[in-house]
Symmetry: C2
Subunit: 688 residues, 2 copies
């Protein structure tokens, strides 16, 4: 085990920012600008609702696809199944209206479960949501790419590459910050709602006029499986489970309340209801239109008799309906496909709002690394976004961006969080009712309404969670059932770790100051200017005793150092320490120990001259000895390390400053102290 | 461009060494043990001669293969071509006997060219040799694997994996140190010499008795190319070029003189002549036996009419001769193949002696990074070995361990270095002759002999270099002609860089000590024990002024820090600095600038409390803020950084020490200072 000192890799938020980062992400923003980044409703809808709305692109398809496993006759069940999904959606939207009002801080189900049920429930909800955010990105992007391929089949071989490319694009856009992302994304959402609504109306009107649109796949017969009665019920439940993917995204609003403009709660609630209504209309309309136009979408396209399943990819249900309604390769067909793809990518974007926000809440509460609670230059939680993007890319690569496989893992997390959130809300209202005086009639009535709605919500979502778990477990969802507990344990572990550290470093009142007899050691490898600087600085600090030490690794070197030391009349004595194993830190530690044995315990400061170079490749040409020695001496009791930087000329070329005072230069007036700083701060001040 | 401070990644030579490294590499050795690691002759032969000897495994094969492109009739040229190679080998060995005597320091051709021709010639030789060391590893390992596959054809699909695996094995063996490697490797070299000699004698005796061995491939006719007269000459020259690969490895002895026991020069010379004689006998014998047994080895095995070129791999010439002489699958056949494979891996091992030694010489002269001149725990130049191994693995993967392709790149580097070395020796002798008085008859005669031999060597090697360059350039060798200049320029660049830095930091006598008015700043993010420790240490150093500073990134945090600061009655004042962009270093730098404007220029020491954790994963849970701030403040003029380590309990669990004195603990006798050190040094002291 190596001593893992937290190291110095760069992170968003660094003071010196590469130009490439500026171009991709934009100029940094002050903390005061946080309020300006908040969302008005008409912008919040595309940002937060796109997840729920976009599920229209795959929920009807997956619902009908599962039923079609049993043969075309099973499509007769679809109106019933779709109605059940719609009913559930209504209940969930109403439940969340209550939740948003009671817990407007953006903690959503996590906060509700944590406050009303307990820490562990909160952590499980958080884990479930984190998993589901990742899957939201994966499923949405996979579906988006699927719809692009449905319009341009030639792109089929690039499916995974396209998906990964889109995730990277979304990461970059999001690192620029919330509002700009919203502006860029508002139009396609409205175009999607408009074009899909137009398609549904056109198709249904044609149907009522007796000229229904006919999908291309209507001609293919379906190779059905023989099913027992139990299998029939299971198939219908599976279809329902897949249809329930239409519900994902509702929680996005609950977790995103702080990003709304004031009045936050009212705006969030309105957005929620608006979103729910549109989602229901599009879901129901599209399912109906798909039935009307006789779309046959198969889990395994080779089960479509007559379809060349080896050749062209199976077009998405959305593409089939659009082609049937507007005509293949018509402008409106491409518009629907483009808008669908865009809104699906927007849905992925939703997760990039939700995940980092949840991450920061978890970090604040000590369940996740503190780095997740650090706002980057653009006021967004950059670290969370990068983690989400990276994991989503991994998932897309592992599952080869196959929508039907990814859907199997999806929505379990959401329903875990739905259920625990609703149960939490039930407890919340019951507590409220206990605390409210009998006279507060209006408040009591409100609480009772809340209790009723959330009880209904809890019952529904728990039932659905059960159905979803049973029907999906063997189809890949077991992975989610592994990930959620693992993540939960990790979060609990992180929390306990932080708690222990907090306790360990808590300042108590029995602390006495005034350590004395301090010793300064200046490490000398060769007698050069950096050493002279270190000597001068050590003398300036007026330690009780100041010594130069040389670790003797080679005899010639040692002789040279001793000669030079005398030659240059260095103002402090030089001690030579033998090191037969060519080590540096260990002999120095031994010397410190012996010194203490004779002179008594004392604080020891080791001065290490260190080069600062301008180019990364220069660091290959210098020994990392100073850093390594520092790392090892820091493990020794009572030793502090003083790094005396020596800026090489190359660093001056790069950073445009002259920052290397030699002892005495200051007094001799050779040096202009402020110059370097002005240069350094120049970049900052321009941005005001 | 980020400020590339040389960072703290671990390297061989670290004081705290993981157990895995100990097991693989062995216990560390003291510098005094260097002499014990030197090689007696009977050990030096297998180490340094294996390269030259092992080329017997591929040189005859490649020679005959090229001739066979013209058809079986061209094999009649082979005795002549082989004789030319032998003549060249004799000249080169004699030339090197002179070189070893004149330059016994191990610099070899590099030192000769540098001293007698000039810096640039020396650098070109070094670059050529470095390239060739890499190719020695690649060619030898590829040929070794080829011979293994010739005996066990089932391994053919694992060709590249086997090659890479062997390189990794050789790296590990070499990191353990010279002598142990030698002991493990001596036996197979002698077995190889013995078994191949036995095979040659057996085969030739059978031939003379009128029962010559017949190779399996004798039955295959060869599909020959139609050649013009010019093409015939070119083909013969190409065959000669490929045969010259028998010469590689001669320079290994010249570069390895310091590794010999005393008398070094005599021992090295004896080894050289012994090696040359054996190589000539084996090369000539094997070529003759291959002709006698009618081996048909084709560049493209599909040109062998009747051979199933898609199915089994073409067995190596060595395997075909061994099978013909001893019988396929006989014990002696397997012995020859095993010894051949072993000696080829040993040849790769030679490069692991030569490359790091040359690297250290280059580093000493300032042409390569200093890290190449650092002996590791086991007294070997570990960094050079790791670089050589990594590049060789890359080459093997890129060229898919195909021997015939790799041979095309090979020996150009060797002949560049041969030629320049010999030219340098010619100049050396002429200088000697000028300097020697007329009376020194014996010395003058010696010098004249040397001049004659090295002039011959220079003429021969230059001619061969020309031939090799012309015949191989279009067959892939252009890559070497690119690499040698690139490496040369890099080395010159490195040298100029070091020279500039040396000049920059050279201590001059106009240095005055006594900077005054120093300021200590203690960075406070929260009021906890680590801060108290930093305050105590800063007070112990008795700076002229000591201040605590808090960077105000969030209002709540700032308020808490101020409250706690007063509550705990901290002994120094607290300054709060605003930071609207949530940066740390820049506002602090601005504060230092303003402080200097009012109080005059002064040395500033910034105290940064820093956590030391026990497990790597813990570092993920702490901000790297201290390190990042340190990195950025080091760019500011006149600022030094003092890292005040705070060892978390976890580090205590891992490193087994208690090393966290609170202010006042020492005086209160709560702390036993030596304990941590004894633990820390325990590992060292055991090894004496």
């Amino acid at each position: 085990m190596s001593p893992a000192v937290t190291n110095d890799s760069r992170e968003p938020g660094d003071e010196t920012t590469p130009i490439a980062k500026r171009i991709l992400i934009g100029d940094p923003l002050t903390s005061e600008m946080l309020d300006d980044q908040l969302l008005p409703k008409k912008m919040a809808l595309p940002i937060f609702a796109s997840d729920a709305l976009s599920s229209v692109a795959y929920a009807p398809q997956e619902l009908l696809m599962i039923l079609l496993i049993g043969g075309t006759a099973f499509l007769a069940f679809s109106p019933g199944v779709a109605a059940a999904v719609v009913a559930l959606l209504i209940v969930v939207v109403l439940s969340y209206r209550q939740l948003v009002k009671a817990y407007p801080s953006g903690g959503g189900d996590y906060e509700v479960a944590r406050t009303n049920i307990g820490e562990k429930a909160g952590v499980v909800v958080a884990a479930a949501l984190l998993v589901d955010y990742v899957l939201t990105v994966a499923v949405s992007v996979a579906s988006g790419v699927d719809n692009i391929i449905s319009a341009i089949p030639g792109l089929d071989p690039l499916r995974v590459e396209l998906a990964v490319g889109f995730v990277i694009l979304i990461i970059i856009v999001n690192l620029r910050g919330v509002r700009e992302a919203s502006q860029a994304f508002a139009i396609p959402t409205y175009v999607f709602i408009g074009s899909v609504a137009l398609m549904i109306v056109t198709g249904l009107v044609r149907w009522m006029l007796g000229d229904p649109p006919v999908a291309e796949s209507a001609q293919y017969a379906v190779q059905a499986e023989d099913l027992t009665q139990a299998a029939v019920i299971l198939l219908i439940l599976r279809a329902f489970s897949s249809g329930c993917s239409a519900l994902t995204g509702v929680e996005a609003v609950a977790n995103g309340v702080p990003a709304f403009r004031k009045p936050k709660v009212r705006n969030a609630q309105t957005t929620l209801v608006l979103m729910g209504s549109i989602a229901i209309l599009l879901f129901a309309g599209l399912t109906l239109l798909a039935l009307v136009s006789n779309v046959h979408y198969a889990e395994n396209p080779c089960h479509l008799i007559g379809f060349d399943c080896e050749g062209t990819p199976q077009p998405s249900l959305m593409a089939q309906v659009a082609a049937a309604t507007f005509g293949m390769n018509s402008i409106l067909f491409f518009l629907v496909q483009a808008a669908t793809a865009c809104v699906l990518l927007l849905a992925a974007n939703t997760a990039f709002n939700g995940f980092p926000l949840l991450g920061s809440v978890l970090a604040r509460d000590g369940y996740a690394p503190k780095a997740l609670n650090t706002r980057g230059d653009r006021l967004v939680y950059s670290n969370g976004m990068i983690i989400l993007g990276a994991v989503a890319i991994l998932v897309l690569i592992v599952f080869q961006a196959r929508l039907t496989t990814l859907i199997q893992l999806y929505i379990i997390g959401v329903f875990v969080s739905f259920s625990l959130g609703q149960i939490g809300m039930v407890r919340h209202w019951r507590k409220e009712l206990r605390l409210l005086s009998k006279k507060a009639v209006r408040e009591r009535r409100e609480a009772n309404v809340g209790l009723f709605i959330n009880s209904l919500g809890a019952a529904f979502t728990l039932a659905v969670l059960l159905i979803v778990s049973v029907t999906k477990f063997t189809h890949g969802a077991w992975l989610v059932f592994v990930m959620i507990p693992v993540l939960s344990f990790l979060m609990i572990g992180v929390n306990r770790y932080y708690r222990d550290v907090e306790h360990e470093i808590e300042l108590t009142d029995d602390v006495h100051y005034g350590s004395s007899g301090d010793l300064a050691l200046i490490l000398v490898s060769r007698v050069q200017k950096p050493v002279a600087k270190a000597v001068d600085y050590a003398l300036a600090a007026k330690h009780d005793k100041t010594l130069a030490v040389h670790i003797a690794v080679s005899k010639e070197e040692t002789l040279e150092v001793q000669t030079e030391w005398d030659l240059h009349k260095m103002p402090i004595p030089l001690v030579v320490i033998e090191s037969p194993y060519r080590h540096y830190a260990a002999p120095l530690a031994a010397f410190i120990r012996k010194y203490r044995e004779t002179h008594g315990s004392s604080v020891v400061t080791v001065y290490l001259p260190q080069y600062i170079v301008g180019h990364w490749w220069e660091s290959l040409l210098h020994n990392r000895r100073a850093r390594r020695i520092a790392q090892q001496l820091m493990l020794v009791h009572g030793v502090t390390i003083t790094l005396v930087p020596w800026l090489l000329d190359s660093s001056e070329l790069i950073y445009g400053r002259r920052s290397r005072p030699l002892p005495g230069d200051d007094r001799l007036g050779r040096y202009e102290p402020a110059y370097g700083l002005v240069q350094h701060l120049g970049n900052e001040e321009k941005q005001d």
